[in-house]
Symmetry: C2
Subunit: 633 residues, 2 copies
């Protein structure tokens, strides 16, 4: 029954042989690996503007965002070039964990792994929260009644996470075809949007619909370095997802490394162009971030308008943005469980994470990811942007460790590949520097508390760092446990297979019936000198029992133990203690006769003390408990 329900929901089990990856050409690999990185275009600009708004920067100085985005694009190109080195060096797939572990030692490797684990969880939370915000913006344009939905953002987000989880438990294959439509659609529409926006600005006379933000009455502050730095730190969210390709090199068509490197370059190009374009338009249209409409939606409204026929493009942007955010979350669902299983293989996470489910997916990892990302969504009340600083920290830790690992690796190669080494060294230094900037500027932050009364609680990088420290500690604790167990189990004493004698004890109740005799027979077949033990609550029944034993018990001796406190456990334990002392060279087997009623609720009608006894025996060392079951019709 339960089995067929499971089949209905999750589909029939798949054979292990089907776990072979499809080999992808660039045209199909790009959409799969790009979804996470491209989706950051949807929120990176908005994050910068939100930061400005929070710091009460005057609206007329928001233009600096363009400068910041150009700096970030430079950084993106640096990282892309650095990662091409990783791809060529680890053609079998090298995430930051593997690169760091192999070159910088296990500790740095685990730090990178903890950063990645936190990041994948945040990818799901941020993408889904943004996906909901995006869909909301569009729905409000259709009918303002949809404004109601804003109060349920967190719930809607959780619902979407559950859908992705279900789909992944069913074991969706990452097929290029599924991803191609939304990814290429998104790229096309964003390129069109940038084109249309520039046309409106340069030749069309400005925004089609009013989008310019109201000036902030509290905005008094002028531009200073701190604001620029914090804006930059916020915008670095655009770099998330770039490392994905380096993890998945083996899935590319041969020549794998080269194709992967080409794909990464193309991705970098698109990312740079789209991010700069969106930021340019946002600045030019004087868009301010607001709660009920995303920046992308405002830009699309200004460029295409919501009325037909341009409206088709407006809604298209919304739909494809939502879709790419959804796919980005889905990408984390394949990366996170895979990383967990690698860590579990190495003994740093529970072994269950290596087990593959009926549908060839790592079910346990998927469930952990779902649980954690839902937790984040609920704690942060579906506010994506509150999570982004946490996210950025993790991304840059992963970048830095991977780059510096590559430097170390090149250093030890003969001949030393100086060019590669320099590229990675510069990449590593820059990402490390950015990590410090983001970390320190965001270590704590102020203003606008969503829940607990202080923003720093939410926005502070302290949270990501604390979380990572805890995770690394857990990694080591788990590893110590496994090593400890392993040590104990591998010592194989020479006398382990020395035959031992059995002391077999059958517990019998005050009435000897068919089920009891079956258990007795079993006991006697194990050992010729089995004994039966009866624990007497009521001595007046003793003779009755002895008579029955005379008739059916054969030559097995019957020992009657008194139980003045009417408990089975006490007297039996005393007996076992005594038996252990008498014969120290053997093992005691306790045979318990057990009924199995025809209907489960019939068990309510039979004495439950057997269960209690079994439980107590389970906690006793050096005995073996055998239930011999007699089935009732």
């Amino acid at each position: 029954m339960s089995f067929s329900i499971r089949r209905l929901i999750f589909g029939s089990p798949l054979r292990s042989e089907r776990a072979i990856h499809e080999k992808l050409p660039i045209i199909l690999a790009l959409p799969i690996f790009a979804s996470d990185a491209l989706s950051s275009v949807a929120y990176a600009t908005e994050t910068i503007l939100k930061q400005f708004q929070k710091l009460h920067l005057r609206q007329d100085q928001f233009g600096i965002a363009l400068g910041i985005s150009i700096a970030i694009v430079t950084l993106i190109l640096m990282v892309v070039i650095s990662y091409r080195q990783v791809i060529y060096s680890y053609p079998r797939g090298g995430g930051s964990y593997i690169v760091a572990r192999e070159n910088l030692g296990i500790f740095i490797g685990l730090v990178a792994a903890s950063a990645l684990l936190v990041d994948y969880i945040l990818t799901v939370s941020v993408s889904i929260a943004d996906c909901v915000a995006q869909s909301n913006s569009a729905l409000i344009q259709i009918n303002s009644a949809f404004r109601e939905l804003e109060n349920h953002k967190a719930l809607l987000s959780v619902f979407l996470v559950l859908i992705i989880t279900y789909v992944n438990l069913r074991g969706v294959r990452e097929s290029g075809a599924t991803f191609a439509g939304p990814s290429y659609g998104f790229i096309t529409l964003i390129v069109l949007l940038i084109g249309a926006g520039c046309y409106r600005l340069w030749f069309g006379g400005g925004a089609l619909e009013s989008v310019a933000a109201q000036p902030d009455p509290k905005a008094v502050e002028g531009l200073d370095w701190l604001i620029i730095v914090r804006g930059f730190a916020s915008g670095c969210a655009a770099l998330t997802g770039i490392e994905a390709i380096s993890n998945g090199v083996p899935t590319f068509k041969a020549p794998e490394a080269r194709n992967a490197a080409v794909t990464l370059a193309i991705l970098g190009g698109f990312l740079a162009f789209m991010f700069t374009g969106i930021t340019y338009l946002a600045v030019q249209f004087k868009i301010g971030p607001n709660e009920s409409e995303t920046v992308i939606s405002q830009i699309a409204r200004a460029s295409f308008g919501t009325s037909m026929p341009g409206g088709i493009l407006y809604y298209g942007v919304q739909i494809f943005t939502s879709a790419i955010l959804f796919l980005a979350a889905n990408t984390a669902y394949s990366s996170y469980p895979r990383l967990c299983s690698i860590l579990a293989e190495d003994g740093y996470l529970p072994r269950q994470l290596t087990s593959i489910g009926d549908r060839l997916s790592y079910n346990n990892g998927i469930l952990v990811l779902a649980f954690c990302s839902i937790l984040f969504l609920l704690v942060f009340q579906g506010e994506a942007h509150a999570l982004i600083p946490l996210y950025t920290i993790g991304v840059f830790i992963a970048f830095t460790t991977a780059q510096l690992g590559m430097v170390r690796r090149s250093w030890h190669m003969k001949p030393r590949p100086w060019i590669g080494l320099m590229i990675n060294l510069i990449g590593g230094i820059i990402t490390l520097a950015v990590l410090f900037v983001v970390g320190s500027s965001k270590f704590i932050a102020f203003e606008q508390p969503p829940l607990f009364g202080t923003t720093w609680f939410y926005e502070g990088a302290w949270m990501a760092l604390t979380l990572m420290a805890i995770i690394v500690w857990v990694f080591y604790a788990i590893h110590r446990h496994y090593q400890n167990v392993d040590r104990q189990l591998s010592i194989i004493p020479p006398d382990v297979m020395k035959p031992f004698r059995h002391t077999v004890v059958v517990l019998v109740p005050s009435r000897i019936h068919r089920g009891i005799l079956m258990a007795l027979n079993y006991a006697r077949s194990i050992s010729p000198d089995a004994v039966a033990v009866h624990i007497a609550f009521d001595r007046s029944r003793e003779q009755y029992l002895r008579d029955q034993w005379e008739a059916h018990g054969g030559d097995t001796p019957l020992i009657i133990l008194d139980s003045p406190y009417r408990t089975l456990v006490g007297p039996l334990m005393q007996y076992l203690d005594a038996a252990e002392k008498v014969r120290s060279d053997d093992i005691i087997t306790v045979v318990l006769p057990e009924f199995v009623p025809a209907r489960w609720w019939h068990t309510l009608l039979h004495n439950a003390s057997g269960w209690l006894l079994r439980l107590r025996l389970h906690y006793r060392r050096d005995i073996v408990v055998v239930s011999v079951r007699y089935y009732l019709d």
Copy 2:
């Protein structure tokens, strides 16, 4: 740990020898057995008046209550005389169940038993609810702020039930000394109250404090037969608890039967006097029932006043009335589990109800009683009077069956004891008649819905009857099950002790370690031709396993089964099916090596698939599962 907490809460276990009852003289037996019956004085009058109020009888006609109470007193005396016969005939204790079972057959016996079971539950609910109401009345006199408590009546009642349950689980002995104070105190105060009340009425110029009820504006109806009958039916609540003495004859000092009969007569006398007296005063003081003050409280106010020094007596009446109601509930806590255990011995209730706890009390019965009475209290929102009709039906069924059982018994005696037979016959006919009157007049009722919108839902005798019918059906269902099991178990085939061969299978994982070898050794000691079975998810590890087996496995063959769907269960089951076919004359033992980690949470780090396998094997017939545990440090 858990053991010592239990000790702290419930006390140390007691030895079975201590379960001997104290033998009571009349002076100590009376308070124990009388508490239930006497306590009905506290609410019987009120129940009649509430019934009048509900039927909108005019206040000036409430006087008829006195006539009704005299009729009820006559009935009480009839029942007392009848029960003296029961006492002499069943000196070893004969409740209605036993009398009916022995003389009228098991079906009528079970009907009586079901009535009693329902009644004991209702005794607890009604007494406790009334105890709370009584205490409330007194507290409001002290400070009207206590009126607030009325909203929490149900909760307070539940709390009191929990206290009684706890005390009984600790195994309180029914000592005469405990009961003597409250019972004799209650009798003395009520007698004083009646004296003082009559004095005020006849010589003192009426009530000390104003208690006369406001005339009911809706009261238009005059007196008719239906009102009298329903008043009578309501007042019959005064008869509850009379049968208690007949259950407990063996606890009296010798001559047991005579002493019990004397005690019953004394009880009958007090009951008759107190009930008539209270009703007389209520009528004379023109007291109407109201929500926030009980009738007893109003009478005591009118007779003693609340100001000192008479106030001491007023509060005394309240305190002792509350105390006797509490003791009445406590009495049910000893009767109900005892009846349950008799029924369980006879195979009509689950056997667990016969088991005696650490403190020599029938814990399971106590818990069932607590659960049911709390359920009633919550459903009826702490309104005691709503429960009384249900209660009365049960009492009269028990009376009728006991009396008619006695008639049947006398009829078959030689020589026929005509006087006794006539007494019981008349008693039986009258109680049967009252049963019909109460049953039909209360079968459904109207007005004042406390919860579901229709009073008949609550007050209807239909509920008691339906409940009893269900209980009787359950009795039979349980009995059928036990008989069925018994039949299967008692057939002992001649070849039951024929020695059989063992097929022993040890399940081994992909790594052979110390724990596995221990299990293997155990398996080989049971059977020389044990086999090891490995279920392979991943064929690439096969050679590694074979090498290990070569080194440590000895001469036990290793069978490797493929599992394309990565499940342990499927391939193992197929193997067991095959093994069963090959050798039909033996038993298959599956040996499972098991880890026991040092800390319980370490189990999270080890593969849980063993549990799943064990569960599946548990549902497979004709195999024995043995866990050989290896303890980790």
